[in-house]
Symmetry: C2
Subunit: 153 residues, 2 copies
């Protein structure tokens, strides 16, 4: 398997509204997308774009920040926020060309995969790997979107 783009950094937050104000007013972000519910995963999500290659003037391909707010106390990130009330870095997400190939790759290496492959926030298949097998990092693997139009909407 070949390492793909670092698609996004997952950042847990007690309030996406507050985080949006923070990224806009403190960090100077200019491209913040519409928040949406990802019911299946028990979270509300919002992507903040960061600039990509400085030599490019087209659509941004910089690593995104994925803000994640729990939809309820049963959300998988409720526990993380209980330990980190202000929020914080939650996971890293790398792209791969073929999700099934990647799944087999990590299985063969004895890495614990958390649940089935499912559709993630970018509409492509994803799975998560156990942080204890990934040098302390909760790691998401996502298939690279086949079209790039999702970046410019």
């Amino acid at each position: 398997m070949k390492l793909g783009r670092l698609n996004h950094i997952g950042v847990a937050t007690p309030s996406i509204e507050e985080s949006i104000a923070y990224y806009r007013d403190v960090m100077g972000a200019t491209k913040i997308r519409e928040p949406f519910d990802l019911e299946e995963q028990g979270v509300k999500v919002c992507f903040v774009d960061t600039p990509g290659d400085p030599t490019e003037s087209g659509p941004s391909f910089g690593t995104q920040i994925e803000l994640i707010e729990p939809l309820s106390d049963a959300s998988p990130i409720a526990g993380f926020l209980a330990k980190n009330p202000a929020g914080g870095q939650h996971h890293l997400c790398y792209e791969v060309e073929d999700i099934e190939e990647a799944r087999s790759w990590f299985e063969e290496k004895g890495k614990r995969i958390l649940g089935p492959t499912r559709i993630g926030a970018h509409g492509t298949p994803i799975f998560f790997l156990h942080p204890k097998d990934m040098m302390g990092q909760l790691t998401e693997i996502m298939e690279t979107p086949k079209e790039t139009t999702h970046w410019s909407n």
Copy 2:
């Protein structure tokens, strides 16, 4: 202040040697740079490149992973590793065009800056901001390198 590139994700590790093997053999990274000591900050550092814009075939401008290993028990990351023995996500680093302007910007917003502006791992001025003022994230601000040749060496 305008948000710049997400230059790198700082990842603490008990062993850069072990982390290099992990990124190469498990994550499929193909561009891992030479580790070096950053004595002033009490750490050994190694950058792992991730691919940039998929439409570009030139040098990578993807967000880097900065592996950080303590040089001694007095290292500023020794405490982090005591709490997270396997290592884990430690900080985010954003670029800005002008480090002095950025410092004033955050000062005006009442954000706690940790120590003086100094030269960071990319050879440009940097400073750190307190995670409690930055929605739980230890945040590094670095001035964008004036030349891009550092990416292709």
